[in-house]
């Protein structure tokens, strides 16, 4: 009964979304107040209906209702409750429903936090969001119905993929989807602005907090996914340039460019066309990511579906969204007009370079991701593009971008002086070079790529501190410097925190890439292996019983010079339902290094108490990678809560109305 209620609610949501979308947009174009007003109630109704559907599916999981096909595929009665609730998004149908829930949620947020917007603009934004939701509803109802009944019902479910039974999975997809889908609001604002022909500073200011929120969530989602891969897959890597990772990385790169170009549009009125195009591209890349992951054209841990109908539907949807918005862009963009002029060296020009580099980076990832698909489709052969391509391309593109982070904030709008920037920076530049020349020796050998990475990290960090300090001193007045620093606006804090996050990230990536140590060895109980100042002593393997798996748990003693020995327990699990083996790595995590151990295979399967192949790693600064990403996201969230996005809304709306009259 409950699943039918969910399905009914989902079916009802479709006409609601369609009518709201069409009528709101039509009404806004024709100036019909009744239709315009419909956008508000329609979007709330949509959110409620989708919410009910989602809760119904969750209920079926919690109640172990194996007469629902999707539940029988994804869950089992021995699955712990937490994983039954999160198992809702463990498969294709449910993760699409989560996507839709996020979209409906963002739409409702956009309805409630846009009171200051002119009614017509709000109706357009909500209308566009409702139409996107209608597209996804069609997709779910016609190709991926999660409420499909299994008659007769199964006695027991097939259980969630063991790889997904992990706390990392609990938060990774929702965060990632919050980001992916959040860009739909920026997209809706861009389309609404194109429809109205009003692309002004106010539009950029309204778009910014939404874009920042989506970007921050996407950053967190990607970071959590990377962290999960690190400890769960047992390979000790944090990024594999897997097509599915790239699918989430492309909207991130484009979204990063969008945040920066929105700043220019808001402050100076320039780059309007480019900003709109970026907003459209960012959301299109989110959709492309969904297409790549959900259509089954890619094979990976994320690719659940192999149903061609689904792939074709998403592809058609993608083409409709991108095509319609590009047509609208071509039709409307020339009216938008150019913004303020700027000199060859100015904050605008530096941000332009930032945008170009990020766009190029997005393009190279796109090429590397799609190239195998294109080659395959042409029938030339099957190929794969591996990490060496991305590494070879990314370092030269990112190096100038990272360097410019240190300069951008010091450059004035309109026109900046090279001599002045150099004068301000003489110490920071010197210290950064010094750090690059000396710091790598902490780890023994100096390598050029480490020198470069340390230089960039130190440079970004020092530049952020310096800029913050100068700003605090400039606005100090009679009070103390610290009071002045604390009084700086949140967007300023956010920017520097995010940039420092980049520095931390770069330091982590550089050091772990150059100095990580790895050993694969055969160990009998009592054996010791030494690696990079650590000694791992293998104590043996015991059999352990889990809720829905049987595990062989190894015991390792980790010895470090003058510290007390610690115990690590790497596991090899065998999940009963799926008969799948899983590796659970054991990690002694730290700010300066991780000691990581994973069990390989027993040499003799009949004697698990005997010799094992064991993989040990020592990874310096690896946690800085996720720490840096966390700081970036925190910076984005701080900036989002800046006062000017709240208090000035009313004023801007007034200005706008005044400008129109």
């Amino acid at each position: 009964m409950i699943p039918e209620l969910g399905l009914f609610s989902l079916i009802l949501a479709l006409p609601v979304a369609l009518c709201t979308g069409v009528l709101a947009l039509w009404g806004a174009q024709r100036g019909r107040p009744a239709w315009i007003a419909l956008a508000k109630s329609g979007s709330v109704a949509l959110a409620l209906l989708v919410g009910v559907a989602y809760l119904c599916l969750t209920w079926a999981f919690v109640q172990n209702d194996f007469s629902v096909l999707y539940v029988a595929q994804q869950s089992s009665s021995s699955l712990p409750l937490l994983y039954r609730v999160t198992g809702v998004w463990g498969g294709h149908e449910g993760s699409l429903l989560l996507w839709l829930l996020m979209l409906a949620g963002w739409t409702a947020l956009a309805r409630f936090y846009s009171r200051a917007l002119p009614d017509v603009l709000r109706a357009r934004v909500l209308g566009v969001l409702c139409l996107v939701a209608a597209g996804f509803l069609l997709f779910i109802l016609f190709t991926s119905n999660p409420f499909l009944r299994l008659i007769p019902g199964a006695a027991e479910g097939r259980e969630l993929n063991p790889m997904l039974q992990d706390p990392g999975l609990v938060i990774h997809p929702p965060l990632l989807y919050m980001g992916y889908v959040g860009f739909s609001v920026a997209y809706a604002f861009a389309v609404a602005a194109l429809l109205s022909g009003q692309l002004d500073a106010a539009w950029a200011r309204w778009s910014r907090p939404w874009t920042l929120a989506a970007w921050a969530f996407l950053t967190l989602g990607i970071a959590v996914g990377s962290w999960w891969a690190y400890y769960e897959l047992g390979w000790g890597g944090w990024w594999f340039w897997d097509p599915v990772e790239n699918a989430s990385f492309m909207p991130w790169l484009a979204g990063t460019a969008l945040i920066h170009s929105l700043a220019v549009t808001e402050k100076r009125g320039s780059f309007k066309n480019w900003t709109v195009l970026l907003a459209v591209s960012t959301f299109s890349l989110s959709l492309l990511g969904t297409f790549l992951v959900r259509s089954g054209v890619l094979t990976s841990v994320h690719a659940f579906a192999n149903d061609p109908a689904r792939g074709i539907f998403i592809l058609a949807f993608l083409v409709a969204v991108i095509g319609a918005s590009l047509l609208l862009f071509v039709w409307r963009a020339p009216r938008v007009g150019l913004g303020g002029r700027f000199a060859l060296l100015s904050r605008e020009s530096l941000l332009l370079v930032n945008n170009l580099l990020l766009a190029v980076a997005t393009g190279t990832v796109l090429l590397g991701t799609l190239y195998p698909l294109i080659v395959d489709a042409l029938g030339v052969g099957k190929i794969s593009v591996g990490p060496p391509y991305f590494n070879a391309v990314f370092v030269p593109i990112m190096t100038p971008l990272l360097f410019l982070i240190g300069i951008g904030p010091f450059a004035r709008w309109k026109t900046a002086s090279f001599a002045e920037i150099l004068r301000v920076h003489k110490w920071t530049l010197g210290i950064a070079v010094l750090a690059a020349l000396t710091l790598p020796f902490c780890h023994g050998v100096w390598k050029p790529q480490v020198g470069l990475g340390v230089f960039l990290a130190a440079w970004i960090f020092l530049a952020a501190l310096l800029h913050f300090f100068r700003q605090a001193r400039a606005t100090q007045g009679g009070g103390s410097l610290i009071a002045s620093a604390l009084k700086q606006p949140l967007h300023f804090w956010g920017m520097h925190l995010a940039h420092i996050g980049v520095a931390v990230f770069v330091a982590g990536v550089t050091v772990v890439g150059a100095y990580e140590a790895e050993k694969n060895v055969k160990m009998a109980p009592g054996d010791t292996v030494g690696i990079d100042g650590f000694r791992f002593r293998f104590l043996g393997v015991q059999s352990v019983e889990g809720p829905n798996y049987q595990a062989l748990r190894g015991e390792m003693e980790l010895l470090e010079n003058d510290r007390l020995p610690r115990r690590l327990f790497p596991e090899k699990r065998f999940y009963r339902h799926s008969a799948m083996p899983m590796t659970e790595a054991a990690i002694d995590a730290g700010l300066w290094r991780d000691a990581y151990v994973a069990l390989g295979d027993p040499l003799d399967r009949e004697r698990p108490g005997g010799e094992w192949v064991v993989r040990v790693y020592v990874k310096p600064l690896v946690n800085w990678i996720w720490g840096g990403a966390f700081l970036m996201a925190l910076g984005g969230l701080l900036a989002l809560f800046d006062r000017r996005y709240r208090n000035r809304r009313r004023a801007v709306a007034q200005e706008n109305i005044a400008a129109r009259n």
Partner: protein, 151 residues
């Protein structure tokens, strides 16, 4: 006038940079693309000797051997037409097992042994890497084709 010159300069610089990036991207792509070859292809001498490529098929039952050091393994990948010996040093993925599909990336040595740098067995018990499935299918099709020709 000056502003226009500056703008032109900016555009020119951007174009030059884009050109450089394009060169970089295409050379990196050319060097780092790994083609896929089936065991039958390799036996027919179609696989390159001097660069990395991928081979896929089934791990032949009973072919897995572990060296004394415990971490060096060898096994045979087959598409039922040809058999290619593979050497690998490292820990095999969880779902690697005899009789199942596998994809290995590496180089072919002069004595016909494939030295793998990476071994991939995918994420689900019943899952077959598409490359491996295709290799088997191709071998199967050509086998049937040969029989028909004989008839």
């Amino acid at each position: 006038m000056k502003a226009r010159h500056q703008r032109l300069l900016l555009i020119a610089a951007a174009l030059v940079a884009l050109g450089l990036v394009a060169v970089l991207v295409f050379s990196a792509l050319k060097e780092n693309v790994a083609f896929f070859h089936s065991p039958a292809d390799i036996e027919a001498g179609k696989a390159p000797k001097d660069r990395i490529f991928r081979v896929g098929g089934l791990v032949e039952t009973g072919s897995l051997r572990r060296q004394e050091d415990g971490v060096s393994v060898s096994f045979i990948v087959t598409d039922s037409v040809a058999r290619i010996p593979v050497h690998y040093k490292g820990i095999l993925p969880n779902l690697f097992s005899e009789g199942k599909g596998v994809v290995a990336q590496g180089r072919l040595t002069d004595d016909g042994v494939f030295v793998a740098q990476e071994v991939l067995a995918k994420h689900d018990e019943n899952y077959m890497p598409p490359e491996a499935a295709q290799a088997l299918q191709k071998a199967h099709d050509s086998g049937i084709g040969n029989q028909k020709a004989k008839d």
